[in-house]
Symmetry: D2
Subunit: 345 residues, 4 copies
């Protein structure tokens, strides 16, 4: 079986493994207070052109999301997210488990929410004479790229950031696959833009070549206060924190992170072109490493004998949308084989 | 600087790194539903002689503790722990953050609580006519070995288990350094004993040769129900769960886990004998890989120029107790050098 | 100003005040363990033909809702509610503050959800291979009558109950204005039906003639276990619990509760007929004490000089739906005056 | 049976009942946004000489405690309390249920903690290099009077307030029986002192002549931000909030509150003198409406045939400490009868 169902099916990039192997016997203090973490954080701050920001390394994406949200909100405040956003549908109610409602805004297949929607939601709250009887919207959560692989343009991010600042909202960006949004066709928002526009965001490692780990960048100093307490309290502080520093140190050196993302995206676009050539419409217009063709069930069943992919949405009685993911480990020959098999269907 | 301040200062055992390296490119499903996890779980069940138990791999000890406790208790129920227990003092209130009080029972420097104390606490609760105005004690948490390196004897564990069963309490054992308690001088409780006596316990990897990871064994099937939801919700479910399976697979093969623990303990006893020879009393009688000599401040300052260790307790104006830890990575020559330097003081 | 904006604008029925005055100096134990509470509970059990059920008196509706839900669910479980349900929109995220997601099902202006919707939601959850990454739907919350004054028929309640039992869900009914649903035109579900069909429900006092207080009836004994701990923990246990027993004792004697509800409904229907006569369509078909005419803004502004009512929904640029409520204290002459003024518009 | 076991055994003062009866049919807006609440709040602000403070009326003491603490703390912060403090032992873990640890400081039978203890606790936290692994002490909770009826002197309150301000802690005073601490022998701290020294405190009504209700005074404006959301979220916002305004309006008029407290205290001191005359030592030196004689079991059994009181602590095999409470409703003749019966023992 050749697997395309997600981008966390293998271990880590050779460069990452090498760094872990080489530093294996070095002794360092625990809990992220080591030189590897300090060095990786410095590189990230530099890449983000955000010298004053704080960088914390956590183990997984769900954990970053609920830990940051729990740290940022008071008990009566809520996070706004797209109805298909990860915190709204795929984290087992982890944000609610910290006591906060996720206010789901309707979104299309692109999985995006707009500044206008945020404005309307917040203004409706404050205009309601019984707003104290409702959770107070206080934080805007988006993913870049989204669950469906689409990306926010710089203009969209600017607009979201502007409405957040105007309304006193916290702007938080989930970057589980952030690298792909930085390098894909049409990408026009850089890490420095994100650092400038968001109060916090994370650079995902798990899905971009690390064994595991995410780098949370908090650019708003008020939101960084005592963060490490809450990181520890919620289980996100690794005893051997240096493992995260070592990995991000490797990823952030010599353009490895971007190069890895670029390769993932290029392989994904090869698939995309094959789908289009085959006449399979795309469920959504993802420029990143996830591609969502709508195909006949019969064709998909045939492919499934040799390849794994994820079911995404039923379209009609004989067609469904599925997801193919590429990763840092996807082999060119596997992509070529898949394309050949699609053509042959 | 030669470091003895804790046992999570390095990476992982060569066998563990090798297993990670060798499996790095293998594709597996995510979230612990892979063959490596299944195989490692099977080995653990066999070692524990507990074929019906469930095994879950989580990332860290704090996380196992609060996740299991949150899954096991209803909102009004509390965990009983020693006043110096890890959940009572070193986890940033993580159990309280899930809504539950930790009822701290007094304990001596051995960090242990007794079956009699548990009985008294629970009987006092139910005898009080206003017990509904107090959290209901429902779970007993101990560490084996304790924070201070001491161990519960089999008889003590039997007694704790018996009172828990009699009173309808859940018995949970934190095994962050469990291996050392299995092999140290005086050890008489096996993994199979733990599995027979506790409702759940975990076998720590982070402090015994893994890069990271703990194996939670739930022997009481009622407490395993829907556990994976809560594991995900609390951030404990790793996307590349196979990393944990691969590591525990290595640790549980060919006696590596016990051999590692035995080596840690032997090196620690070399230190212990050096402390005794020097006339430094021991703060507590730890037979495991943590040793706590009481020494003159001046001597410790001298040692601190070359070695790191942890401050533990002030004894009088010129003496304090400190902790020296050995780990899988501690070098024999470093132990020898330290002993030589102690003798020369 | 003559007020119709809600049904909690005055104190309590004369019979309730009389009972409070007459018992004022009697000494009783605290926390609801008194004879007044016991007697009122017995009357409620009898009325409900549910001799084995438990009755708890709490102070307010929001409190009953989140306290029961917190007591009933495990951490990963969610409550299903209509998108316009009270717990979904008007309780400041109180259910989320206990850690649970409220899964909002779409509903029309009648504010109702159907057994088919519940079935679909639950089956979709379990059919999803990643269901462990989503909150588990476990409890169905409805209001009888709904936020918009409509009622569930006996057949609808039977169907909801049946799907809950089939799927292992808890069925909970918010009865803040329950009396009106028992006596209004078209009502065909009795208290005994509710007790038979739901796992728990509450009989609202605050909006039906009591000063304050709600009677929670738990018919499923498994859900009553240790409930008083959680009631105390969440602030719902009144020190002078007898005040609730005294009030419900009065309400449940001689048909006072139903008589009060009937009067509220009759006055509301006088208004309803006046709206219809005037040609004002009804926003929703409420047979209870809340009526929702759609009227021209100009007419409403005129009425607002003399009467208070609540804005409910904007219909078009010159029309909006508003809410008129009657209560136990609404005066006949005030209703007559309002009708006369409507006719004169 | 003549009851002395607590001070919440009866309804309310005649003046309070009269106010409720007289205003029963007046229509007001709900949720505390009525003129009765506004007027009562104004009186309280005036009495406290705290014109800028916010006053919120909640239903019960446990609720005020956990609601204020939940509103005031971030997730990693803890409340400091005496080991015998109400939040530490008699509220079913309600503070923990909002996610926060209660750090219990040792205290004697007077139930008090000192500024020095608070200072030591906080300094020890910050001096610990692993303080991020522990809950951060951030709020000091005391009761005035304490659980055991003792009172803090003005000097003690000044010292607590000073250490709180120096260390950035929130100072919160539970005043369930506050009136008695204002008027008892030895009392030297006024309402204005409390308002000046504490960040928030509450004036208890339930135990001082109201049917129910507590007036929370928040003098620190930063802690009042959005408080009403959290009050609603935690079930503390009464639909007919005016009931609380009406009651506190009566209590705060013409010195009724203080007069009631004074009468309670005077009757308690009559009992105290009878205990002393009898040679029964006092368990603690309470100058307020709770008295704790240590008496022979046989004598107490004899008294228990006619009077109720609370068991408090076993002293030796034949003696125990018990609690006698007086309330606004305690009859002089009942006190006289009790004293006569004690003398006759």
């Amino acid at each position: 079986m050749i697997r395309f169902e997600s981008d966390y099916l293998e271990g880590a990039l050779p460069e990452v493994m090498r760094a872990l192997n080489e530093t294996n016997l070095v002794q360092t203090p625990g809990y992220g207070e080591d030189e590897y973490c300090a060095a990786a954080a410095a590189k990230i701050r530099e890449k983000c052109a955000a010298p004053g920001s704080a960088v914390h390394f956590l183990i997984g994406g769900t954990q970053v999301n609920f830990t940051f949200i729990a740290a940022a909100l008071r008990p009566h405040q809520a996070a706004i997210a797209a109805a298909s956003g990860h915190i709204a549908v795929h984290e087992s109610g982890s944000v609610e488990a910290t006591g906060h409602k996720v206010v789901a805004l309707p979104c299309g297949v692109d999985g995006k929410i707009s500044a206008a929607q945020v404005r309307e939601c917040v203004e409706a709250h404050w205009a309601d004479s019984t707003h104290e009887h409702q959770p107070q919207p206080k934080l805007v959560y988006i993913s870049q790229p989204t669950e469906n692989g689409t990306i926010y343009s710089l203009a969209e991010l600017e607009a979201l950031s502007a409405v957040c600042r105007e309304k006193g909202l916290i702007f938080f960006v989930d970057g589980a696959r952030l690298g792909t949004a930085l390098v894909c066709p049409g990408a026009d928002a850089s890490l420095a833009d994100l650092a400038r526009l968001a109060d916090a965001f994370y650079i995902g490692g798990t899905k971009l070549g690390a064994l595991f780990g995410e780098a949370l960048v908090i650019t708003n100093p008020a939101l960084n206060r005592d963060f490490r307490y809450i990181e520890k309290q919620r289980g996100g502080m690794l005893a051997k924190g240096r493992l995260l520093g070592v990995q991000f140190g490797a990823l952030m050196t010599g353009g490895l992170y971007e190069r890895t993302a670029r390769r993932e995206v290029e392989l994904a676009w090869r698939l995309r072109r094959a789908f289009e050539e085959k006449g399979w419409p795309l469920y959504c217009d993802s420029p990143t490493n996830q591609q969502f063709p709508i195909a006949p069930d019969a064709a998909l069943e045939k492919l499934a004998e040799k390849y794994s992919f994820s079911d995404w949405a039923r379209i009609d009685e004989t067609h469904r949308a599925v997801r193919f993911c590429t990763s840092w480990a996807t082999k060119e020959e596997d992509v070529s084989a898949l394309i050949k098999d699609i053509r042959a269907l």
